[in-house]
Symmetry: C2
Subunit: 513 residues, 2 copies
C-alpha cells in the first residue's frame, strides 16, 4: 500500500485549511477514528483516515481536488457516512484524507409540477422529509430503513426503499460531478448551458453517465436530481406471515407475476423470523445458548410473539378504486398459501405514519444489539433470480453456512421488478475476537460460494470490495480492467477513492503487484 | 480528415476476407454507395464508406477489430442500418470500413417467466414479432414506427415505441461488448462467470455501463438483454383530435399528471395535422403552391379528411377492470377540452392488430414522398419540459422557423414520464438542390435556436453530430472532453465509429485542430 509522507500530508492539510477554514479540517485521533466503521468485523481492519476536510460548496471541492492532485493526496468522499453494514463512513484503507461533504446540505430545488428535487450530498432523508412535510409539498420520498443517511449517498450506492420509487438509483436524473482534475461536469441534459430538462430527461445526448457514477470512484457527485413520487390518493397494505420456512418459494412465485406486470410497484420484502424478533428484544430473551438458535426455539418464539417465519407486506399506492381491485388480485395470487392478509388502508389527508411514506426512524439500527454488547454487523447482498426454486436454493445454502459458522441467519428477500435482493446480516459482538474472526471467515466463504453458483453481490462492505470484485471475473476480469482503464484516464492522479469497489488507480495496482 | 492509404486498406480488406470469407467483404461502388443515407439532405454529404465487412459471429468481430487496430482502419458498426431520419446506415465520413452486423441475427433466449429476450444486432422488430407470435409466447415487444430496423440498434440509439415499454433504452439489461482492443466485455451481472441474473438485475457491481454504450462509440455491442412486457389482459385506446393548433398546451397539461403518477404508462404522441395528412396522400392532393401550406388550406383539409390539427391516442394496457377505471380518469383530465375520445378495446385472444402490440409495418416510411420525387427527411428532436406553456413555445418557435424557411411543419410531441420528445421532420425533394440547401440551413438554425433556449436534442442525424455536440457546451464542453478522454483510453487505436455523437479519437482531433 502507498503510504503518505507526513510532511507532504501536513502541507496538504494546511492548504486544505486555507480553502475551507481551520475549523473544517481535522487531524486529531478522535476525529480520525470517528470515521471508522463502528460496526466493522475487526477493529484493526476498519481504517482511520489520516485526516479529514469538509468543504462548504462545490468550489471548495474543486479547490481541494486540485491540491490533492498536485500533491498526490488521495481523498475518500462521503456524503453523510451512514452506509452501515457496508462500512459506514470508513475508507478502504487509512492512507487517505476524508472528503466529508456533510456541510453541503442544501435542497436546491423542489419541483412539484414535474416531481423532482435537486439536492446536495449532505441532505439526509430526515431533512428531506421535514422539508416536504413542513412545506406541504405533495411529493413523497422513498427512504432507506434508517433515515439519517444521505439521500444522494444512498442513491449512489444503489440503496433500496419501499415505495414505488424504492429502486433509488433508477430515479436519479442528472448529476453535477467534480472530476479527478477538479473540473465541473454536468451529466445528461445538464451539459447544455441553461438546460430546461436536466432533471426531466434522464439520458442526454451521447453516452449516459449517471449510472457509471454510482458505486464508483470516477468522480465526486456534488449535486443530484432525484424524482419523487406524487402523493397518492390512497395506499393499501396487505401484510402476511408465513409459519414455515418452506413457504418462501410459493410466496416468491405468487409475487413474481404481480411485480412483472406492474400490479405491485413497490418493493415488498420477505423478512425472516429473526429479522422480526430482533426489533423486539435482544437474543437473550429468546435463547441463552451458544450457536444458532435451534429451529424448535425459533418456532416457539414465533408462536409466542405472533411473528411469522417470513413476514412481508405488499403495499399498493394509487387511486383507491384501483388499489381495491389490485388488492383482490394480490389475494388471489396468494390463495394457494394457507394464510390471510391483514389489510390496512390510508387515505390522503390522514397522518402520514402508516401511509407507506417513510417517516424518520432509526429503529432498524437497534438490531445490531441482538447479541448484547457492542453489536457489529456485516451485510451480505447477493442477487437472486425472481424464482421460488432459486430463492429457496439461495436461502438454504446461505442459511446453512450461517448456521454452520455458529451464527443466526438474519435475512430476507426484497423484490425488484425482475430480481430479488437477498440481504442477510452477520450480527456479532465486536468485543469477541473469536466471533468476529468467524464472521470474517463466513463472509469470505459466502462470497466464494455465491460466485460459484452464479450469484453476484449488488453491494458490499468496504473491507470486502476486492474479494467481491474478483468474483466478477468473466474474461480474466474484463469489466474490472475496463473500469481501471477508465479510472486511470479520468483520474490521472489516482486521488478519488482509490480501491472503491475494487477499482484501483494505476499507482496502487503497481504497488500491489 | 484522416485519409486511408489505399494499399493499407487493401491489405486490411484481404485480412478481413480471411476472417469472414470473400463473400462477406465488399469494396465495389454499388455496395459502398448502398450504405449512404438514402434520405440525406445533400447527396455529397452522405458518405460512402471505403468498404464493408459482415461478420457472422462475435469471434469474427473480435478478429476484425484486432486487425483494424493493428492496421489503423476505422470501423463503422451498424446493426441493420435503418436509422432513417438520423442517417440510416451512413457513417459520419467516408474514410471507414462498415462493420455490418446484419448477419448476426440470432434470438438467443426468450424467457417468458422473467420477461426478457437476448438477441444479436441483426434481429429486426419483424423477426422478433414473428418469433413471438409463431411460438405463441405471451410477451409483447415495443417497436419503432417502422419495423424492419434492428431491435438492438434502435434501443442503443434510444428509440421510442408506443407501449408501456416504449422507452426502449430503459428496458435494456445486460450487454456483451467487443472493445476497441478486441476484448469481450459483459456488463452488469454478466461480468460474473455463470451469472444467473444477467438479464434481471440491471446494475451489477460497481459502475453501470449499459447506458454509456448507447449513442456511443466506446465499444461494439454484439448481444443485448431486453425486457419484454407480459401480454396484458386488455388494452383500451382513447383517441382524440384537436381542431386547433392552440389546443396543444391544454392537452399537454391534461396528460402531464397522468404520466407522472403512472396512470398512463405508454408514450402517447400528439401528432400534428401534416403528420396525419402525409400518410394518406402526397402534398399535391392538398395544395399545389410553393412554400408552406397556408393555415386555411390545412384547415380545409382537416375538415375534409376528418383528421385533427393534433391527433393522439392514449392507450391503457392491463387488466380490463383497471383500464376501465383509468379510462374515466383520462376522460375527466381532458374534459376541459371540447372534444370527445373515441374508445376502442382489445381483449386477450383477439387478433393482435389493434391491440397496441406493434405489428410489422413500413407505413411510416411513406411520408417521405410527401413532396413527390425522391423524398428525403431530416429529423429534429429537441426535448421539451412536460409543460403546456413550454411545449407551446417550442412548437411555435420551431414551426415558425420551418415556415420561414419555406417548409411544412411535420411534427409532434411524444410523452415520456417527465419530458416530451418533440420530433419534427424536414421533408424535402432530394433532386432539388435549392431545397436541400434550405433544409440543411434550417436544420443548423434549429439546433442553434433550440440550444439558446435550453432545449437540447436527444438524437440527431449523422451529418449534424458535431453541431449538436457543440451545443452541449457547459464548462467549455466538459462532458464532450470527458467522453473523449474515455474514448482515447478504451479505444486507443481510435477505430470504433470515430466522430459518432461528436466524440472523436485523439488522432482525428489533432488532424482537425
Amino acid at each position: 500500500m502507498i503510504v503518505l509522507d507526513p510532511a507532504r500530508l501536513e502541507a496538504a492539510m494546511r492548504r486544505f485549511a486555507a480553502i475551507v477554514g481551520e475549523d473544517h479540517v481535522w487531524r486529531d485521533d478522535a476525529a480520525r477514528h470517528g470515521y471508522k466503521d463502528a460496526m466493522a468485523p475487526r477493529d484493526a481492519m476498519s481504517y482511520a483516515p489520516r485526516g479529514a476536510v469538509a468543504p462548504a460548496n462545490v468550489e471548495e471541492v474543486q479547490a481541494i481536488v486540485r491540491v490533492a492532485g498536485e500533491m498526490g493526496i488521495p481523498l475518500w468522499p462521503i456524503s453523510r457516512g451512514k452506509n452501515f453494514g457496508y462500512g459506514g463512513s470508513a475508507p478502504r484503507f487509512g492512507e487517505v484524507v476524508m472528503l466529508d461533504l456533510v456541510r453541503m446540505n442544501r435542497i436546491l430545488e423542489v419541483n412539484v409540477e414535474h416531481g423532482y428535487v435537486v439536492l446536495e450530498p449532505g441532505v439526509s432523508f430526515d431533512d428531506l422529509y421535514t422539508y416536504l412535510v413542513e412545506s406541504r409539498i405533495p411529493l413523497w420520498m422513498s427512504a432507506a430503513a434508517h433515515t439519517w443517511g444521505s439521500v444522494l449517498g444512498n442513491a449512489l450506492e444503489r440503496g433500496v426503499g419501499y415505495t414505488p420509487y424504492g429502486e433509488h438509483a433508477s430515479k436519479v436524473c442528472g448529476l453535477e460531478v467534480v472530476t479527478g482534475t477538479g473540473e465541473l461536469l454536468r451529466t445528461g441534459m445538464g451539459a447544455l448551458d441553461g438546460a430546461r430538462t436536466w432533471q426531466m430527461f434522464p439520458y442526454g445526448f451521447g453516452p449516459s453517465w449517471d449510472a457509471a457514477f454510482m458505486q464508483s470512484n470516477f468522480g465526486i457527485v456534488t449535486r443530484m436530481g432525484l424524482w419523487l413520487m406524487p402523493e397518492p390518493e390512497h395506499t393499501l397494505n396487505l401484510a402476511m406471515k408465513f409459519d414455515r420456512p418452506e413457504d418462501l418459494p410459493l410466496g416468491v412465485e405468487a409475487l413474481r407475476p404481480l411485480k412483472l406486470d406492474g400490479t405491485v410497484q413497490a418493493n415488498p420484502s420477505f423478512g425472516n423470523i429473526i429479522r422480526n424478533l430482533a426489533v423486539r428484544a435482544p437474543r437473550s430473551e429468546y435463547y441463552q445458548g451458544t450457536g444458532p438458535i435451534p429451529a424448535s426455539v425459533l418456532d416457539d418464539a414465533r408462536v409466542r410473539t405472533g411473528v411469522g417465519h417470513w413476514n412481508f407486506s405488499i403495499r399498493l399506492f394509487g387511486d383507491k378504486a384501483i388499489n381495491t381491485i389490485n388488492a383482490e388480485k394480490v389475494k388471489r395470487a396468494f390463495s394457494a398459501l394457507p394464510y390471510q392478509f391483514e389489510v390496512s388502508e390510508w387515505n390522503r389527508g390522514e397522518p402520514l405514519r402508516g401511509s407507506g411514506s417513510p417517516t424518520p426512524s432509526l429503529a432498524a439500527l437497534g438490531v445490531v444489539d441482538w447479541l448484547g454488547g457492542p453489536g457489529g454487523h456485516l451485510t451480505f447482498s447477493p442477487v437472486s433470480p425472481f424464482s421460488g426454486a432459486e430463492a429457496w436454493e439461495q436461502y438454504t445454502t446461505i442459511r446453512g453456512m450461517y448456521e454452520d459458522a455458529g451464527f443466526d441467519y438474519y435475512g430476507g428477500f426484497t423484490a425488484g421488478q425482475r430480481y430479488l435482493n437477498h440481504i442477510s446480516m452477520i450480527l456479532f459482538n465486536r468485543d469477541d475476537a473469536e466471533m468476529t474472526g468467524r464472521a470474517n471467515a463466513l463472509f469470505s466463504s459466502l462470497i466464494e460460494t455465491a460466485a460459484r453458483r452464479g450469484w453476484g453481490e449488488y453491494r458490499t462492505h468496504t473491507l470486502f470490495y476486492d474479494e467481491v470484485a474478483r468474483t466478477y471475473g468473466y474474461n480474466n476480469g474484463a469489466l474490472r480492467r475496463w473500469n481501471e482503464t477508465v479510472k486511470d484516464a479520468v483520474d490521472p492522479h489516482g486521488i478519488i477513492a482509490p480501491g472503491k469497489m475494487g477499482i484501483w488507480p494505476r499507482a496502487y495496482r503497481e504497488a500491489q503487484a
